[in-house]
């Protein structure tokens, strides 16, 4: 027993000594800026999370890993799109890994939970990843949570009119049952209902659902199109089953329904995706030089990535770029509880590949939305053609803030 105790004690001493040397060496160098990066590398959005990471890394690479003379140190963490997991991962980054700035998370419910957590850490600045729930910045906003991407509602602004222009007078909504799709559907319906469109049926399906047969059976004969707001594996599953059921109605897509990971879908219904209109903060075929440069940079850095960056890559890029631009603006000064840094972020006009982004009073982005249509190029790849570009879309979709209600299962409604 005694000899074993000695061994254990010795081992502890050795480990402690090694740790002391390692940490001592780290302190001796110029302090790097530690940035926590959270995305979903597991669960339904694993592919999206991976591409989000690529976008964020791209912003770091464009600065060669240095900002305002300080080295950028990225500490990554993963969640599985569950709010409790996202908060645990964020808490680890902030309290254990001691990051200065936190970038993430990816999905809507996670964003709300991380925003709530940010209130308990007033000295750390939180910048969104790609989460797009309205409530994150609209309901009890946190003074240290910034979002440089427009939300799920803003992404669909203008789509209602585009759908009516295509002749879709009655549509059925099929969407996942949580905050982000609520806001997407609201963004679509706000304009669509105002211009006289009708939505007789809304089907809310569980996130990560495998079986859509009951939903497909409920599709009324007299609707002109389906508004499908599903993401990742869910959208592919739905497409497969709708195809097997012999469905032929045209689609209006949510912002993550027709993202790059869906356009790479290999099933037979792939061709029927052609003609699908959607609203998104991104358009593959946008021809501004800033966008083209961004795509070229993405392709060069990530040969194993998608043919064109996905929404997640772009949005994570935007938020990480804002993070670093802000640091550059204050010359890396994070003193005084990061007050200067936050002021710089609030006033910043972010030069992005998709146009300028500025923040409103709730630290929520006001930015550009694209209305796109899926077309096939000469090599057989599907991509999103730009139908229309709408600038300066604000969070309340043009409605006065006092009258604006956060989207839900029943809000808005026009049966």
């Amino acid at each position: 027993m005694d000899s074993r105790k000695k061994t254990v004690v010795r081992a502890i001493v050795v480990v402690a000594a090694v740790l002391a040397i390692v940490s001592g060496a780290a302190i001796a160098q110029a302090p790097p800026v530690k940035i926590g990066l959270l995305a979903t590398l597991e669960g339904p959005f694993a592919a999206g999370g991976q591409d989000g990471m690529r976008g964020a890394e791209l912003a770091v690479k464009q600065r060669n890993g240095v900002v305002a003379g300080r080295k950028i140190e990225i500490v990554k963490a993963s969640s599985d799109a569950k709010p409790d997991v996202a908060v645990n991962a964020t808490r680890k980054l902030v309290e254990q890994d001691k990051v200065d700035i936190m970038v993430g998370p990816l999905s809507g419910s996670e964003g709300i939970a991380v925003k709530e957590y940010s209130k308990t850490q007033p000295t750390i600045t939180f910048i969104n990843g790609s989460s797009g729930a309205q409530a994150t910045t609209l309901v009890s906003p946190s003074p240290n949570f910034f979002r440089f991407n427009t939300d799920g509602g803003q992404w669909m602004m203008g789509l209602g009119k585009a759908a009516l222009d295509k002749g879709y007078k009655r549509v059925m909504v099929i969407a996942e049952d949580y905050a982000f799709p609520y806001s997407q559907v609201q963004g679509f319906m706000t304009e669509y209902c105002k211009l006289g469109g009708k939505v007789p049926v809304k089907a809310w399906v569980p996130l990560g659902g495998k079986d859509y047969s009951s939903v497909i059976a409920r599709i009324p004969k007299d609707v002109d199109a389906l508004v499908v707001v599903l993401g990742g594996a869910d959208a592919v599953n739905f497409l497969n089953q709708y195809e097997q059921a012999g469905g032929d109605k045209p689609m209006v897509g949510g912002s993550i329904t027709v993202s790059q990971d869906i356009l790479n879908y290999k099933g037979k219904r792939r061709d029927s995706l052609v003609g699908t209109i959607a609203g998104a903060p991104i358009a593959d075929a946008y021809d501004a030089p800033e966008w083209k440069a961004f795509v070229a940079d993405y392709k060069k850095n990530f040969p194993d990535g998608y043919p064109s960056p996905s929404l997640f890559a772009l949005v994570y890029y935007l938020n990480m770029k804002a993070t670093l631009d802000g640091l550059e603006a204050v010359k890396g000064d994070l003193s005084d509880g990061q007050k200067k840094y936050r002021d710089a972020l609030s006033k910043m006009v972010l030069k992005s590949p998709v146009g300028d982004v500025k923040l409103d009073a709730n630290r929520q982005a006001i930015g550009t939305t694209f209305i796109t249509e899926v077309v096939k190029d000469s090599q057989g790849n599907l991509y999103n053609r730009v139908l229309k570009k709408i600038d300066n879309v604000n969070q309340t979709l043009g409605i006065p803030p006092a009258e604006f209600k956060v989207g839900s299962r029943d809000e808005p409604s026009c049966p």
Binding site: M1, R4, L41, E42, Q50, K76, A77, S78, K82, P83, D84, V85, V87, N88, R91, K92, E95, Q96, S109, I112, A113, E116, E176, D177, Y178, A179, W204, P206, L207, S408, R409
Partner: protein, 371 residues
């Protein structure tokens, strides 16, 4: 495979020739010794370390590692009690815990579109625990007629059914979003979700649960339960009501899981269908198996290892492959030990005592009295 074979296969404790003379064989004239005997120097040391822990650990280690492990350990304890002492492996323990969490939100306060009655916290907690015990009793009543793998199947089915109920029911459970902002109360000027107070809260509950199980295993009920685990037919012949004992065990385990569930919900500040999904049902089994089911302390050991892995595996390896580390560690522990970490401990101490000149027989005895 017959039911008896299953029971034997599921009986995770190694066969012990000395078992027949177990704790009961202690001389009847010294009942006082039986109570004082187990308190040893190492118990005092462990308790002292646990009490002092938040004073030398960072808030992160206190809250996310310490308190989370204790709350999860409590839920796993309910399973290791059922499985280790009753021979019933129930996957629905997280369901019971999650139900308790939901009830705290529903009867108490939460930010939700669904029902929240806003009753005082103590009433909500009390109702949650009672409700969870009723549910656990019902689950037990449904599943006691099955053995081994069939118990696993039926409790898994119940767990998955509850998961989908919470996912699709909006009137009560608020669907995918679940119940948000479910926090412990502020009492006596202390906000009980701050790292230190919350740690001590979970520690007190965990210790109470632990001591309760240790005590219960020595009562006639506990002895009878272990008898039923080892040979239900013989116990029935001796006049014990086997079904009643098993259902009662489920109820007791339900109470423990409910307390753990309330704490875990307060820890997360929310309860969603994800909290009662298959992932967590299996995680609780993993925690119990990792730690070992031969002694109540195993559940907490397993929880600590599990939480540490969940948090730090991502630092060890390429960020996109960290689940591999978690899987490999689990495999190694389960492959090389009959009974998780406790199995390693037992093997180690048995080897130590043979080296010191004792026979394997004294090692076995030592192991037995170490309970």
């Amino acid at each position: 495979m017959s039911a008896a074979d299953w029971r034997r296969a599921m009986n995770l404790q190694p066969p012990r020739p000395a078992a027949a003379g177990g704790p009961r064989a202690a001389p009847a004239s010294t009942p006082r010794r039986r109570f004082t005997n187990p308190v040893r120097a190492r118990h005092v040391i462990v308790l002292a370390i646990l009490l002092a822990y938040p004073w030398y650990a960072t808030p992160f280690f206190t809250f996310q590692i310490g308190a989370q492990s204790l709350a999860l350990g409590l839920i796993a304890l309910s399973l290791s009690f059922l499985a280790g002492s009753g021979g019933m492996i129930s996957l629905a323990q997280m369901t019971v815990a999650g139900l308790a969490g939901y009830m705290v939100a529903i009867f108490g306060t939460a930010a939700t579109d669904g029902v929240t009655l806003g009753w005082p916290w103590w009433l909500a907690v009390l109702l949650a625990i009672i409700g969870a015990i009723v549910a656990a009793t019902f689950i037990g009543w449904l599943s006691v007629r099955t053995e081994g793998i069939y118990t696993i199947m039926i409790t898994l089915a119940i767990g998955v059914a509850f998961h989908y109920l919470t996912l699709q029911n909006y009137a009560v459970f608020n669907g995918f979003q679940g119940e948000q902002k479910v926090f412990p109360p502020t009492l006596a000027g202390i906000y009980w979700r701050d790292p230190k107070p919350f740690y001590y809260l979970t520690l007190v509950c965990a210790l109470a649960g632990y001591l309760f199980v240790v005590y219960l295993l020595r009562t006639p009920f506990g002895i009878a339960l272990q008898g039923i685990r080892d040979n239900a037919r013989r116990m029935r012949t001796l006049g014990f009501n086997v079904t009643a004992h098993r259902v009662a065990a489920y109820a007791v385990a339900g109470a423990i899981a409910a307390v753990g569930g309330v704490l875990f919900t307060w820890y997360n500040g929310l309860v969603t269908p994800g909290s009662v999904g298959t992932g967590w049902l299996i995680n609780i089994l993993v925690i119990a198996v990792l730690g070992g089911m031969r002694h109540p302390v195993g559940a907490f050991l397993g929880a600590v290892v599990f939480v540490l892995l969940q948090n730090f595996a991502i630092d060890v390896i390429d960020r996109e492959r960290f689940n591999l580390v978690i899987g490999v560690v689990f495999l190694v522990i389960v492959l090389f030990s009959r009974d998780g970490l406790l199995g390693w401990w037992a093997a180690l101490s048995a080897r130590m005592s043979t080296q010191r000149g004792g026979s394997p027989w004294t090692a076995a005895r030592r192991r037995l009295y170490a309970r």
